[in-house]
Amino acid sequence: MNCIIIDDEKMARVILKTLCDEVNSLNVVDQFSNAMQAIKFLNSNEVDLIFLDIHMPDFNGLDFIQTLKNPPKIILTTSDPKFAIEAFEYDFIVDYLLKPLELNRFKKAIVKAEKKEISSSEIVKEAPKTKDIDNDFYVNIDRRLIKIDLPSIYLIEAKGDYIKIKTDDKEYTVHSTLKKIEDKLPASLFLKIHRSYIINIKKIIDIEDNSVLIKKDVIPVSRSKRPELMKRLDLL
């Protein structure tokens, strides 16, 4: 199995590599000190298994899992079992190993990984075209197509290769671009007010010179977008 190691701590990466070298079926193709580097790698490379540290600064292991389009098997490594339990809702999580890692327990996890079949036989690569664009659309998150009610969206934020969709009761991180999602949104409801933000204009609470308050988020408005925003509002 080709695998990668993601851990911000060098000591942890060296220990994992040492353990992997004890198992003939494992081939460590690369190691990463942060999840963003690993995402870039996975955009153009496939692996069978990821050893993933959960507790990392800025972008932790659970954030990383949310971004995976076609997740391979994952073995979590952590000092805190409670974080691992949270991640077990995903069927591609094979096992979790508590640090400091120990060879026999490590080998058991590898046996599990070799036996484990990802339960879904087909991995959905593209979200289908929306049928009823006025009411809802689907996003692909962790091989599940999740329906999002369009009017419930109040903000969409660009985050590198990802977008964060904020609805009245949930947030979703999706591998996509603001441009792609903009094309799927009804122009009557949504407006791009900044290169990194699309808002639902019905959800605006107030507007200042160069920002809008939407729910609890204060969002900047580009100077070039302000006239269009003002035109779209029902002013007294």
Binding site: K10, V14, T18, P57, S79, E102
Partner: protein
């Protein structure tokens, strides 16, 4: 106070001196850096950052076989989540013991 040891590193290296030396080199390089980062975060009273620093140092504490110290670090990390620095003194003592030990290996 309990003393650090190389039992875990020896188990992992399984007699391979080159692996053992690599692991010791990493700990000798990474521990002082992490300790310094911790002290700087502590000075600035950045609880979230201190908690992250403690979390990383905790792994080194466990690798050096310091079981009781690991529990102290765990409690301290938990306190930091509640924005309390209770346990900082004990944690500092652990760092001092490790600093002295890694000079000898």
């Amino acid at each position: 106070m309990e003393q650090p040891n190389l039992e875990y590193i020896n188990q992992l290296a399984r007699g391979n001196e080159s692996i053992k030396n690599e692991l010791i080199d990493v700990i000798k390089t990474e521990f002082p850096e992490e300790k310094q980062e911790y002290l700087e975060s502590f000075q600035k009273q950045e609880y979230k950052k201190i908690e992250e620093n403690v979390h990383r140092l905790k792994h080194k504490i466990s690798i050096l076989g310091l079981e009781k110290s690991y529990e102290i670090a765990n409690k301290y990390e938990h306190n930091l989540r509640e924005s309390s620095i209770e346990g900082a003194k004990e944690f500092d003592d652990i760092l001092q013991v490790i600093s002295a030990y890694i000079e000898t290996i």
